[in-house]
Symmetry: C2
Subunit: 191 residues, 2 copies
């Protein structure tokens, strides 16, 4: 129970920032959605920024962990499972896009603290993908390659695909882009 007020704030802040961006996120709206009064908030956090950074970090790390860490614990089928994860659109929020990309775009060039935080989060995401690729190579599902670079490219292609849909409103475009990415990656499969 001790965590509820803080957690309610973290949850509401993430939602509000994901929807409206950091600069567009109004404290009053966060507080209203969280059902928490201003004084309580400033007891738990020293500023809007600190609260937002905490929300971003905690929520996104959790998401990425849930999505990718279990793939790493497999003993085979790494690449197939990774491709399936990319193709799975049920978890994607195409209207709002990718929270990582959103905040990087908005804040990385404006605030050093956001810059540092987002850099770490983006690295973490790429690390998951690199580690999965390394596993796939280890078990000889893939031929050896520069997995750091490939993970970078995969991440970029996925972020770009999500952006396309946010621009066009057409989810099929994500599917189409991922299909091309898949074809490319299947070229690394060992026969």
């Amino acid at each position: 129970m001790k965590e509820t007020t803080r957690q309610k704030l973290i949850d509401a802040t993430f939602e509000e920032v994901f929807s409206h961006g950091y600069q567009g996120a109004a404290l009053v709206d966060i507080l209203r959605n969280a059902g928490v009064h201003k004084g309580s908030m400033y007891h738990h956090f020293s500023s809007k920024k600190e609260m937002a950074l905490a929300a971003i970090q905690e929520k996104i790390s959790t998401r990425n962990f849930e999505k990718y860490s279990k793939i790493l614990q497999l003993s085979s089928g790494y690449l197939e499972t990774l491709l399936a994860a990319f193709k799975d659109t049920t978890q994607r929020d195409f209207k709002r896009g990718c929270p990582i990309a959103n905040i990087v775009q908005e804040m990385s060039n404006l605030d050093e603290d956001f810059n540092k935080t987002m850099k770490l989060i983006y690295e973490e995401l790429r690390r998951y993908i690199k580690d999965i690729l390394d596993k796939a190579i280890e078990v000889k599902e893939m031929r050896a390659c520069d997995t750091k670079k490939l993970a970078l490219f995969i991440t970029a292609a996925l972020e770009g695909a999500i952006l396309s849909v946010k621009a066009s409103g057409n989810p099929q475009e994500y599917v189409d882009s991922v299909e091309i990415l898949e074809d490319y990656l299947r070229g690394f499969i060992r026969n």
Copy 2:
């Protein structure tokens, strides 16, 4: 001379929005940088939003036209010139990223007018790339393929690559991603 006030506003607005986003762009700063008073601005534009949309549309359309339309006017070497344009980092502002991506991320899910405008601009960019690919196929530099889909993928990969750099601060990551994209596209070259 008749256009100077309006043009000064368009230029300053684009810069401010590119740097701080639409919501973060303060009218006072735009006016200060443009050297224009508020009343003049509201003579030329009915609102901050209308001015920003005009600035975005005019500046980005011009940029894309300058970058891609001359490639279309070539008579050969379409793919090579396109790849060279992708690899050219001298025009890229990695700190601020891509203005199209920035505004799509920030505004497409928040405002219908921004959504419509950015959808058109994004389509325009993809159209240029598709048309260049079609030309390359026409002159038999490339084998036939679904150029609409390929243009979508290329755009996504490029936008994602720019985002990577904005997140990491390392321009080499753009080069690395584009290198992989180039390898992939070279697979379409006709021997």
